[in-house]
């Protein structure tokens, strides 16, 4: 578990636990994320993957544990705290509001206010500026959605995921956390989404990604951590493992000797 290559982790969580009354959802899990890497989080249903990232991002209060960024302890008690620390999260099924346009979704909670008397007095929004920023970003990421004033529900799963990932590029200063970015996507759309994930790296983001897809772990991730029954079962460099070993670690068939 020592940080590899002597590199300082950008994010370092220690002893993160989440108990619901007597039920242990997550028990003293440690996590290190290095600058510029894609870290996969895998595990069976109920292993605590979603709980872990929700606890990390302040979406749910954690029972115990500390979080450091760049070696300094940070208090992340709400989604707003996480955003302020430069962490953007794409929650599964909770990425976009169906009824809102793409523009409004992208800037939800961080709308650009007009820089004039209307903006200061009434919080009047600067739609032209928001639209322009989105169009520029979509062009950069090669996402060709023209109707950005159209409600999110009008778009396909792949397009919606692309929008959610674009949001992390727009606002994520340090870290993008993705909860199953390819869940409910077809093969072709999955590949497009994963290419976008890969490009997050180029935009200076370090990525934590929950996934069920071993192929994606092998092809797109640098390291992988395995959760089992709310505990950390193993952490490996992807180049040191194969799919079968990972499945063994996930199910508990093969115990981890290295950790």
């Amino acid at each position: 578990m020592a940080s590899q290559d002597g590199k300082k982790p950008i994010l370092r969580a220690r002893g993160v636990s989440k108990h619901y009354g007597g039920v242990v959802a997550l028990e003293t899990v440690d996590l290190d994320l290095h600058e510029g890497e894609v870290l996969a989080v895998v595990g069976d249903n109920g292993a605590g993957k979603s709980t872990l990232i929700k606890a990390l991002t302040g979406a749910i209060p954690k029972t115990s544990g500390t979080i450091e960024m760049d070696g300094h302890e940070v208090q992340i008690n709400s989604p707003t705290d996480a955003k302020a620390a430069g962490i953007e999260t794409v929650y599964q099924d909770l990425a976009l509001v169906n009824e809102l346009s793409i523009t409004k979704n992208m800037f939800l909670g961080r709308e650009l206010i007009r820089n004039d008397i209307l903006g200061r007095l009434f919080g009047t929004l600067d739609f032209p500026k928001m639209d322009a920023e989105i169009r520029a970003l979509f062009q950069k990421l090669d996402i060709r959605i023209a109707d950005i004033y159209r409600e999110a529900e009008a778009f396909s799963g792949g397009q919606r995921q692309a929008v959610a990932l674009a949001k992390t590029v727009m606002f994520g200063k340090r870290i993008a956390i993705l909860d199953e970015p390819t869940a409910a996507l077809g093969v072709r759309e999955s590949k497009m989404a994963m290419d976008l994930v890969r490009s997050l790296k180029d935009h200076g983001l370090s990525v934590i990604m929950i996934t069920h897809n071993m192929q994606h772990v092998m092809n797109y991730c640098d390291r992988v951590m395995v959760l089992r029954l709310g505990r950390l079962a193993a952490v490996r460099d992807v180049k040191d493992v194969d799919g079968d070993t990972l499945v063994g670690l996930i199910t508990g068939a093969s115990e981890d000797k290295a950790a």
Binding site: T124, L125, D142, I145
Partner: protein, 330 residues
Amino acid sequence: MTDMTQNSSTQFSTPSADGSSFAVLKHQFLQIWQVLAALVLIYLVFFTLSEPFRSLDTLLSIFGQASILAILACGTTVVLISGGLDLSVGSIFAVVGVIVGIALAEYQLPVVVAVLIGLLAGAAMGALNGTIQVFTKVPAFIVTLGGLTAYKGIAEILASGRDLSRFPDSFQMLGSGYLVPMLIMFGVALVTGLFLTKTQLGNHAFAIGGNEEVARLSGVNVRKSRIYYYMLGGVLAATAAILEVSKLNFAMPARGQSYELFAIAAVVIGGTSLFGGRGGVGKTLIGMLIMQTIIVGLSYLGVGTSVQRIAIGIIIIVAVYWDVWRRPSR
């Protein structure tokens, strides 16, 4: 990447849609034309069936009767869009009417002061509804059902033993005739519409009503916003109450009864979703006009109040059915 490109541009290509205001306007018109067409159709039906219905006076009286309720319904629209519900606005209406009546008739306060006190009282009661709801997590239906009876009781206590009538002429001007209430209605609708579409807080109403959890995770202060929406509902109920007290030249606690239901009916007929996340005040105005046209039209045809109520009831159910039916994937 190029795959996604083709997919999106073939399926959703609108070459003109460079975020131009024309495209947005067209989009908004497409959402509203059905209710607008329904309004025109209903008007034409009565126009054909009834000779006296054809006068300009009738048309003005439809607007006049719609105006006070429409102002209240603008507040209801905002609350419903945000996924909330306020059943107590009819009782807030009663309390404010009585308070303004007392301020004018008993304390002889200047009209401006009395109006301001009324608006503040409405804001306070609305905010109280919202606050109780977001902090206790008791469902809006229950909190505001409690408000409905509690505020009603307050109005009765405040009014008991008082003669709340004969107000100064300057106050009576507010609600007299059709023109002033109508102008105030359009003014309120315009301001509320701009609030919903142009401001951050207004936009958050759609986000919270659409998916409260996504809004929260996106950093929207859901509780605080909700309290503001209920407060706005209270202020607009107060505005409507002040106009009615002015129009009638008396105040009594029995006023405002069932207004919350008429407001919700108008909002839903107009096409604002009862489930939150969609809608607008333009739709509500049309919904209110549809309702009043039916009421006025039926009375011109000699149909009694009871049958009018049955008709409105059926229309509400049809409108909600339409709302449920057109919702995608639910």
